[in-house]
Amino acid sequence: MDVVAEVSQETGFAGESGADKLQERLQKRHQARVEDAERRKEAKESQSVAEEKGEYFYTTFNKERASIEELLSSCSGADRAAVTRTLEEATAKTVQLQKFLNDSMLFLKQYDLRQAQAALQKLQTSLTEIREEALPKKKFGFRARTKATDPVSAPVSATPLPDAGTPADSGSTKVDGAAAPEQCSFSNMDNVSLTKTAEEIQKRDVLLTHLTNCKVRLFGAPSTLHLKHIDSCEILCGPVSSSVFIDHCTNSTLAVPCQQLRTHNTTDTQVYLHVTSRAIIEDCRGVSFAPFSWSYPTLEEDFTVAGLDQDRNNWNQVDDFNWLAAGTPSPNWTVIPEVDRKTNWDP
């Protein structure tokens, strides 16, 4: 397959240039292939090193874990002094195992890491339980610094520093979840079409909350975009320089370019996405993705304003924080099949 494609490409070149040029090209291509093979070999080697390390980790981790579990099970029926000794040993071993895990994490896969952490947590819980059961009240080991005798833990008041150069604070410290006057927002609306212009949006944080059956068009480049409690809406937005944060959105269609997409508690929603780092979902169901395809006259400029790379779109690399098993894809999100993708965004 590969070879055929390459040959036909070379022939294409030959048709438009002389034989020596062709020779030169073939030479170059050969060189490139050799280098490529080298690279692949290196990659493979470093991967096998990682695998070896991983294997060493699992063997050691599981052996240690088993020995701690054994210690713990030997506690049942033993006398108090023996339990105290055993628990002390088990505690020390658990601390060491945590340290071993911390030292190994650089080469562990995220999923395996979480498995190991979960195992450790379980050990810690059993330890506490056994300790409470076998040795009620009486604590042993060193107490953490005692507050009464340590002069350092006296409270200090907290403004020894130069002011943060915050935007002029007019003394309004209202934090009740309502949008601030200086924030660009739409809230609590049904069945309307809403638009914001570049001037209203540029470099601001935009907040949309409690919208039902609305069509929203944001022509500009916001700093961040927050969507919360959105039902049956179509929301199209220009390039967002940092993150888009979605919470409790259902039955909707969204289109947006951004640096990060963070989706929570969202169901049955289509996202036409341009994302330069990665998208994540957490506690979501039925979220589907396709590449961003909405356009408006100043889109290109707004990509520049937002500082987003238009050639870098990871729209289909979605991390599901509730589904970290390597190899098996998350059932909570899908790619929208090409034939079903929306191409007409007219109002």
Binding site: D163, A164, D176, H226, N322
Partner: protein, 184 residues
């Protein structure tokens, strides 16, 4: 020589500190870490797990742990408490809708026995956003004045512009150093 003195001496020799950076997801923890270290901040993804960075700053060796703040990861935070010298709590100052969440998570952290000795720095981040609350408003919303158990300080900053990141870290180092590196 008491045990505490021996421990202090040991630490003093290494002049090493362990800082733990926590906060809700999207607060800007990883961005702060990378900006502080002079790295590119435009390619950062939401943290699935954690990052650690070891930095030299003012002659100290700082081990900074940045742990993901997504809801599903918060139950793992406790795995990183051990021997923390400084806790950096990062707040998205423009995220008014989750300030209450933010207050609760912080106050339960402060009850943790294993964090009992740690100094607390609160970064009121994203001050570059027009809708950001001031650090005074954040201080009130998080009820910081009620904290009696830890040394604390709140600083308004922006991970994007880099403003005040250094001021915050310097305060934290001074406070920790005064505590663990002084000989008695």
């Amino acid at each position: 020589m008491g045990l505490l003195t021996i421990l202090k001496k040991m630490k003093q020799k290494e002049r090493e500190m362990r800082l733990l950076m926590l906060g809700l997801d999207n607060a800007g923890k990883t961005t702060i870490l990378k900006k502080f270290n002079g790295e590119d901040v435009s390619t950062i993804s939401p943290t699935l797990g954690f990052n650690i960075k070891t930095l030299e700053h003012r002659g100290f060796k700082l081990n900074i742990w940045d742990v993901g703040g997504q809801k599903s990861l918060r139950s793992y935070w406790r795995n990183y408490f051990e021997s923390t010298d400084g806790l950096v709590w990062v707040v998205d100052s423009a995220d008014r809708l989750r300030l209450e969440d933010c207050r609760q998570e912080l106050s339960s952290l402060l009850l943790e026995e294993r964090l009992a000795g740690a100094t607390l720095l609160v970064f009121a981040n994203k001050q570059d956003l027009p809708g950001a609350l001031s650090k005074e408003a954040i201080r009130e919303a998080l009820a910081l004045d009620e904290i009696k158990s830890h040394h604390w300080c709140i600083i308004g900053c922006s991970a994007v512009t880099g403003e005040n990141l250094l001021a915050g870290v310097d305060w934290l180092l001074d406070d920790i150093a005064a505590r663990i590196f002084t000989t008695d």
